[in-house]
């Protein structure tokens, strides 16, 4: 039994210690996550790559030595040199600046696709999980239909249907990506729906919509964020593949997949047009995957011990 300290003298110091004691389980968890984080160097490497990727995207205009679309046919297909570390492409454009500006496009691709697919996924998932019954059955069958297609094939079909531009490619990929989040949100919603406190709130007169928004939604955010980091790698690859097939970003937009596709017939003598953007895709997607892998290991109870 602790000696009760005198009332007057509860100093700030003991209040802080009190605050800490209440937070112990959470702090404990954070310490454990950091410990695991340090133990998996791969996740560290992933984090570093992603930070670099975001920084380059942020300061792209400053970093890019030349304009990504200025053509200079007189110097086309110049090999990499000090002035142009990544060399020039068949239109005489600086490949390095195109790759750097491309970072910004990749970030916008990821952000837009993630937002659209999460919004659709949440709506479909929560509604299906929360109401259950026939609504759940219908919505889930629709999800199954989208999942029946191999991802890229469906994205290609949508991209070809809408005129092949970057925005349409983004829409196409989002139409494919939402299914992942729908399933997650549905699982979360079904778990919460059966909680006793939901009955209590409903008894107090809260409408379904309010429950869904204020209770189900916040709970399903965390698994979705985790899934998001793992999906980003695939999103970039899908966008790049569409670009490669000519169904995605159109020139002169320096989307990485399109740059690789542009340069592929010059691979023999001017390898640099394809090599550097390809490497950029590889490193960035590698970063996201390492990050995602690290997160997955940390959260997977089986591996956590």
């Amino acid at each position: 039994m602790r000696k009760p300290s005198s009332d007057k003298k509860i100093s700030g110091q003991s209040a802080f210690r009190e605050f800490l004691r209440e937070r112990k389980p959470m702090l404990d968890d954070v310490r454990h996550t950091v410990y695991l984080w340090k133990k998996t160097p791969l996740a560290l490497v992933g984090t570093v790559i992603i930070c670099l990727f975001l920084l380059v995207a942020l300061f792209a205009p400053l970093l890019a030595p030349y304009s990504p679309i200025a053509t200079d046919l007189s110097r086309k297909l110049e090999a990499p040199s000090a002035a142009h570390p990544f060399g020039l492409d068949q239109f005489g454009r600086d490949v390095l600046s195109r790759v750097i500006m491309g970072t910004r496009i990749e970030v916008s691709i990821i952000v837009i696709i993630s937002v659209i697919s999460i919004v659709i996924g949440l709506i479909v998932g929560i509604v299906a999980g929360y109401f259950g019954g026939i609504i759940d059955e219908i919505l889930m069958r629709i999800t199954d239909i989208f999942l029946a297609f191999p991802r890229l094939v469906l994205a290609m079909a949508f991209a070809a249907a809408l005129r092949p531009t970057l925005t349409n490619a983004i829409i196409a990929i989002s139409l494919v990506e939402w299914t992942v989040y729908a399933r997650l949100a549905r699982a979360e919603a079904m778990k919460i729906r059966s909680q006793p406190y939901i009955e209590a709130i409903r008894a107090v007169g809260a409408s379904n919509i309010k429950i869904m928004v204020f209770h189900v939604l916040p709970m399903s955010i965390s698994p979705i964020i985790v899934q998001l980091t793992m999906r980003m790698g695939t999103i970039i690859l899908t966008a790049a593949s569409l670009g490669f097939l000519g169904l995605g970003a159109q020139p002169p937009l320096p989307e990485w997949g399109a740059i690789v596709s542009d340069g592929r017939s010059y691979l023999m003598n001017n390898w640099w047009i394809t090599a550097f953007p390809g490497m950029a895709i590889a490193v960035t997607v590698l970063g996201f995957n390492l990050l995602g892998d690290g997160i997955r290991d940390i959260l997977d109870p089986r591996i956590r011990r």
Binding site: R31, H32, Y35, L36
Partner: protein, 337 residues
């Protein structure tokens, strides 16, 4: 140094630690244990006192993040702690066998039960007469005989999968498997704790019968004093990683010396006694930074000034006849503190 105390097994100064994220758990703090051929030693203590860890350490089955930091594991003149992995493998399953608390979980879910027993027999035979071509049919015969001796109809049980067995049946299979290679020492890590009471008695009686026939020594890990008293010849009481008292069943029960043993015995309800049960005050210590000196001192009513600085060692208590081997690790009985 040589094996002196028990001619079958002699554990001295065994220390085991677990490096977890929260810090280093000092699970065993110099365990002292010994037994002779054919004897039965019961290791009792509250959960978390390190009795299971001791059992696993004997066969060096401690996995990451645990590790044996020091101590000797003498077994018939050989120190298991220094043995190489394949030398140890020639002893595991052959000379020392083990059965566990969760019998169903201890069997491979995707392999038929009969096959798992045959695997054990085959493994022992191969190490024994390496030259000969393993005779599959003979091994099955032995397996069927063992299943019969543990009271199971082998025609039905042989082809079942572990999840198709009840707890009792699974433990019988484990016993059949363990004893199929006629080990010198059987380590039973809380074999009956997960079973309901009626099955517990059956299993213990079965074990008692089989083990007596083959004169196999048994190291029984249990938290039930009653089970230990009924089954074993000697008892070792463990507390927070140390053996605090060791001796024959009679001397321990008749004349418990260590305060913790006394507390344990008072906590056991006895038929006919209606007075209120006493519990031992305080809680089991946190083994990451255990109490200094004797780890029981914070809860010990007879605490003396040195108890929280010096660590008591297991010493023979002079009062009893040598046969009882009564030892205790407490400064109350070491006047040269």
């Amino acid at each position: 140094m040589e094996q002196q105390r028990g001619d079958l097994l002699d554990i001295s100064g065994l220390r085991v630690v677990f490096n977890t994220y929260a810090g280093q758990v000092k699970a065993l703090n110099g365990v002292e244990l010994w037994m002779n051929h054919g004897e039965r030693l019961g290791v009792v203590g509250e959960t978390g006192c390190g009795k299971s860890v001791t059992a696993l350490s004997v066969m060096r089955l401690i996995e990451e993040p645990g590790e044996i930091t020091s101590g000797a594991l003498w077994f018939e003149g050989r120190n298991l702690a220094q043995l190489s992995e394949n030398d140890l493998n020639s002893i595991r399953g052959k000379d020392i066998a083990m059965i566990f608390q969760e019998p169903v979980a201890a069997l491979n879910p995707v392999m038929k039960v009969g096959a798992q027993i045959v695997e054990n027999i085959e493994c022992q035979r191969r190490s024994a007469d390496a030259g000969q071509i393993p005779d599959k049919r003979a091994f099955s015969e032995i397996m069927r005989d063992m299943l019969g001796r543990v009271g199971l109809d082998w025609q039905r049980t042989e082809n079942l999968y572990p999840h198709e067995l009840s707890g009792g049946m699974a433990q019988r299979v484990m016993i059949a498997m363990a004893l199929s290679s006629k080990p010198k020492l059987l380590i039973a890590d809380e074999p009956t704790s997960a079973l309901d009471v009626t099955i517990q008695a059956q299993i213990l009686n079965l074990l008692n019968k089989l083990v007596r026939e083959t004169q196999t020594a048994v190291l029984l890990i249990t938290h039930a004093m009653g089970v230990a008293a009924q089954f074993c010849d000697f008892i070792a009481v463990m507390y927070a990683g140390n053996v605090v008292e060791y001796g024959s069943v009679q001397s321990i029960f008749r004349n418990p010396l260590h305060p913790y043993t006394k507390g344990l015995l008072n906590a056991v309800p006895k038929i006919g006694r209606t007075d209120e049960l006493q519990s031992i005050p305080g809680i089991v210590p946190d083994l990451i930074d255990p109490p200094s000196g004797c780890r029981f001192h914070p809860r010990c009513p007879y605490r003396k000034p040195d108890c929280d600085t010096l660590e008591p060692t297991l010493r023979a208590a002079k009062t009893e006849p040598a046969a009882d081997r009564h030892h205790v690790a407490c400064f109350l009985y070491q006047n040269d503190a």
